[in-house]
Each structure stands twice: as C-alpha cells, then as structure tokens.
C-alpha cells in the first residue's frame, strides 16, 4: 500500500481539489449539536473533529425512501429516471462507517444483487478519517476501530500532518492530481503513527466481549432481560434508522388518482414495528414487543454471525446515543454475559 504524508496546512487545498473528482460530501453541522453528512462547497463547513453523524452513509446508497419503478396500464413497468452519473466524494468517513458500508456491500451483493444500491455505491469515493472514541463508541470491541480496505484514501492524524494510506487507483489519482501538496513518509512519521494507533486503542471507555456471544445468547434465549427491554422499548424505530447495517425495507405502491398508474416504492423498515412480522391472515409471529427487541439483538449479534461469520454491529454507538428510552446495547450485552466487572 502506498503511504504518503499530507501536512495539515495543505488539507484545505487538497479537499478543495477533490471537487474535480465529484461532489464533495462531508460532516457538517445539523442543528446546534448534531452532525450530518451533506454536500460541501466550502472547506470551512467541514467538522473535522466530529464523532458521529445522525445517519450513517447508507442514506446515500440505500435511501430512506426510494422509487423502484413506475407503472401504468399503458406503458407497463418503467425504471425511474436515472440519476446523473456524477461521482460523490465522501470526505471524513470514520472506520466504523466504512465497515458498515462493507457489511451492506456484502448483504446487497448476495444472491439477488440490489442494483439500486450499487448504482450509487459504485459511483462513490470514500476518503476515511481517523477519530477518537467518545463515551458511546465501542468499535474496538467489534473489531471495526481500524480499516485496512474499503477506502480510496484514509487520513490518520499524526499531529502536524496526516498520514495518508492510498487504498485504490482512484485514491492514487487524487494524490497525483495534487502531488505537490504531499510529502514522503519519514522515520519519525512511522513512529508517530504507531504511537497514535496505541493511543487510540487505549482511549476506549467501553470494552465488551463479542466472542462467544452467539452461544451465550442461545443460552439466554428465555432470559427475563427481553421482557424488561420490551417494557422500555418505544418501538419508535430510531435504532434501525440510525444503524449503519440495518438494511430492511418495506415495499408499497403509491397510486395516482387515475388508479391505473403509480410508483412502486421502498422505505426503511424496522423489525421493532408491530407489522414487521405480520403476514397474510392477520398472523404475527412477533406480536409482542419483547420478541421484536430480542429479534433485533439476535439478528445483529447471533444470526448474522452464522450467516456471514461476524456480527453486523460496528460499534458506532448510534443506537445507544439516539434511543429516546435510553436502551444501551453495551449494558444489554454485559447483562447477558453476567459480566461482574462493569
């Protein structure tokens, strides 16, 4: 992997130069305290020291509401108007969110490839940025605090400069387009980077063990904890919306007033909704809220492991940070494990 150095005073120039590769999107302020990825025209808008955006990057590729096709009695089925083929350059993506995208890539490229997702995903450049964990982050425990692939460029703070790892040929093009801004790596940079890596590893306030959790969850399938969570959970759907790896959607039709034309739509769904597991005949195999909360934890931490070899949780902390009822995934896992040193 090619690795170079970008002095911090050159960052603004470099980011501005990225506009020749596509529309730049980066974390910007949303309200007083929140952040969101959004289009950026001025480097000064970018919040370099952010911890998390409300929504992960999935909103760009797997949209909250999307038209799948148009239909009419006359024309049959028609794909929606294609979006202009402009590349989006995402600057400042944290490791957990890059891992989130890698998991979505895996899911949406399965037996039935989701072309809606990949049409946008394949046209995205990812420029990662390292971060310092806050009181909600537990990506160290999910093994997603660092990334070795899934980015075009990845910037790590080494005080006066960024160490820049080049992940793809597109990333290399970006560096070459502004080669004069970059420097070669020297010995002290290597040591600094390794020191920062240890520093980050040691700065986590939360550590949980996910290894052997699938087995423990099976043992605790009938634990009273699910009933307790069912009483607290509001079924508001927040955790599913903000999760980088929740990918369920519901399909519905929107009709025009002529009642013979319309659009087939899909929108983000949540397994916490009462009608998620509602089937024909009015039967609901997860009618109780407690069984729905249990299902969400089981799918993330147990079912996904069986299917893909790892949990789908990336430790971003969003579900905990944004749950109105204060449901805390870390506390739930520690309770399931009967951890005494918490």
């Amino acid at each position: 992997m090619k690795i170079v150095k970008l002095p911090k005073e050159n960052l603004a120039k470099f980011v501005s130069s990225l506009s020749s590769f596509g529309q730049i999107h980066a974390p910007v302020k949303r309200g007083e305290k929140s952040l969101a990825f959004g289009p950026v025209s001025d480097f000064a808008q970018i919040q370099l020291n952010y911890t998390r955006t409300i929504l992960p990057l999935k909103k760009y590729f797997f949209k909250p509401i999307d038209t799948m096709f148009n239909f009419s009695a006359e024309k049959g089925y028609e794909l929606p108007m294609e979006e202009p083929e402009q590349r989006n350059v995402f600057f400042g993506v944290h490791p957990c969110d890059i891992h989130g995208l890698k998991i979505l890539d895996l899911v949406f490229s399965g037996r039935y490839v989701d072309n809606y997702y990949f049409a946008r995903r394949n046209n995205a450049a990812i420029i990662g940025l390292d971060c310092i964990p806050d009181e909600f982050c537990f990506c160290r425990s999910t093994g997603t605090d660092f990334v070795d692939s899934g980015f075009d460029l990845f910037l790590s703070d080494i005080d006066e400069s960024y160490l820049v790892r080049v992940g793809t040929s597109l990333g290399d093009d970006m560096v070459k387009a502004t080669e004069s801004l970059f420097r070669d790596i020297e010995k002290q940079d290597r040591e600094k980077y390794k020191g920062k890596s240890i520093e980050k590893r040691e700065s986590f306030q939360i550590q949980i063990q996910l290894q052997d959790l699938p087995g423990i969850m099976d043992l605790e399938y009938d634990s009273p904890i699910w009933e307790e969570l069912g009483q607290d959970c509001l079924s508001c759907g927040t955790c599913s919306m903000v999760c980088p790896t929740c990918y369920c959607y519901a399909v519905f039709d929107e009709l025009d007033l002529d009642a013979s034309s319309g659009r087939r739509m899909r929108r983000w769904d949540s397994c916490l909704f009462k009608d998620y597991a509602l089937v024909a005949g009015g039967h609901n195999f997860r009618a109780e809220r407690s069984s729905r909360v249990k299902n969400r934890f089981f799918h993330k931490q147990r079912g996904f492991v069986s299917q893909y070899g790892r949990p789908s949780c990336v430790g971003c902390g969003r579900c905990k940070a944004y749950c109105p009822a204060g449901i805390d995934i870390v506390e739930v896992i520690n309770k399931l494990r009967s951890e005494i040193r918490v």
């Binding site: 309200g31 409300i54 009483q231 509001l234 927040t238 007033l257 009642a259």
Partner: protein
C-alpha cells in the same frame, strides 16, 4: 366500478379536514373528476341527502346528540365510512377535558346560554359505528388523503404509516428535540405521516396525529419524567389530541400521577 358516489360531512369540530380537501388546489379537478360527489355541505349547496353512497368521509367528533344521529344515518347510507382528522379518529381537541363533568364544563364556558343545547363527552366515530379507514391528522395530510382516494378508487385500502414520528424524523435526519433540546416531544408514541413537520422546525411533536399502534405510553412517561418534566405538563400534552384513545386509559394517568 364507475365513479363512486361520495359524501363529505362534518360533525362537531373546526371542519379543518374538510377544508384540507378543498386545499388540494392542484388536484381538486382530478378529485372532482374521479368522484361523483353527491353531497359536501361545507362546499356546495343542493346536495343529495338521501341517496346511497359508496364512500362517506366524516370529520369532527361526536359531541352532540345530533352528531350521533347524523353519523348513524351516514353509516347506513355508505358502503365505506372514512374517518378524517384526529377528532374523528381519536376525539381530538374537544375531548381533552373529558375527565371533568360535562355540565360543569358547560356552565363554566357558556353560562346561562349553555341551556339551549345538549352535549355529551366527545368521542371518536368508532365508538358508535364501524369505521373502515382512519386518516388522522390535525389537519389531515394532503398526500395521505390523495393516496387514500387513489387506493379506494382502485378498490383497495391504502397502506398508511403505522410507525412513530421518530422514524420519519430520523429518516430526514433532524436533530432529536427530545434528547438534544430536552423538549417535551411525543414523537416516540405519535403516528407518523407528517414527515416530522414540527421537529423539522426544531419544535417538539405535540401528538396531533394521535397515538401510534401499541404506543408505549408508560415508557414515554418514564422518559419524560427522567428529563424533569412535571406530571402536570406531561398529562396535559398526552391529553391534548387523543384523550379517549385506549392507550391513554385512566390506569396510565393514575400510574403517572403516583410514580
């Protein structure tokens, strides 16, 4: 099916949901073209008050004996009865003080003039007749109305959201007014469909669309109390738009007051 014969009526309320139909300005000609509107007393004179109807839209709550009579007559005339607006679906604003005896309220509000009319504790339509479709909202959302009309024309019932305002709020990536601003927000227990209009302006959801299916009111009350809101304020907000809803039954209010 030819053009369905339709009636649009109001019981006691502000008639805002009938007005929302008239406010579909760009689509009004399409609506009028697709439906055979037999009677719409608010918008036209000379309606047919006796013919059978395929669909009747009813807004307002049952607050007076004559509301109940009209509602039952409409039910007999119509194949499908659609409740429009939070008053028709949940009792709405008229029902917010139903814990106080009706005579006492009447005396306080109208004095001697109150003697000339009868009033009962406000109730939503489904307490009296079978309701085939409920479109809540104060007022109803134009998009939901149009989708519902289109589905009914297709011989189907629409798929309206039955998830909470929080879901739409997060989909639009609005900062959480409950967690970030500490406001008394009913988003977690209120049914979506408004695209989180109030949070989009940094304002809390006041529950105008009524409760979502299986609303977890106990947990919402606990959350709001932990945020430091008084039971007085919480109770007032919960009762504002949908006091007669089952999820706001007395038990919740007794628990809330004692906790």
């Amino acid at each position: 099916m030819g053009k369905p014969k339709v009636g649009i009526y109001g019981l006691t309320g502000c008639a805002g949901d009938q007005l929302a139909i008239l406010n579909c300005e760009d689509e009004l000609l399409d609506i009028a073209g697709a439906l055979d509107i037999k009677s719409f007393p608010m918008a036209m004179s000379g309606g047919d008050e006796n013919c059978p109807l395929d669909i009747v839209f009813v807004d307002g709550a049952v607050v007076q004996p004559k509301d109940e009579e009209l509602l039952k007559r409409l039910r007999e005339r119509a194949t499908l009865l659609v409740a429009i607006g939070t008053c028709a679906v949940w009792g709405g604003l008229p029902a917010m003080k139903s814990e106080i005896a009706r005579e006492e309220l009447k005396r306080k509000v109208y004095g001697r003039a109150g003697k000339i009319f009868d009033t009962t504790a406000p109730q939503h339509l489904s307490r009296f007749v079978k309701v085939d479709l409920s479109i809540s909202g104060c007022p109803i959302e134009k998009e939901q109305l149009l989708q519902s009309v289109a589905s009914l024309l297709h011989g189907d019932l629409p798929r309206l959201p039955n998830y909470a305002v929080c879901t739409e709020c997060k989909m639009a990536e609005y900062p959480c007014v409950l967690l970030e601003k500490g406001q008394l927000c009913l988003g977690p227990i209120t049914v979506a469909g408004c695209k989180a209009r109030c949070p989009s302006y940094g304002q809390p959801c006041i529950g105008c669309r009524g409760p979502v299916e299986e609303a977890n009111v106990s947990s919402e009350v606990r959350v709001l109390k932990e945020k430091g809101f008084t039971w007085f304020d919480i109770q007032n907000r919960l009762r504002t738009f949908a006091a007669p809803a089952d999820c706001f039954e007395d038990k919740i209010f007794k628990e809330g007051a004692n906790a």
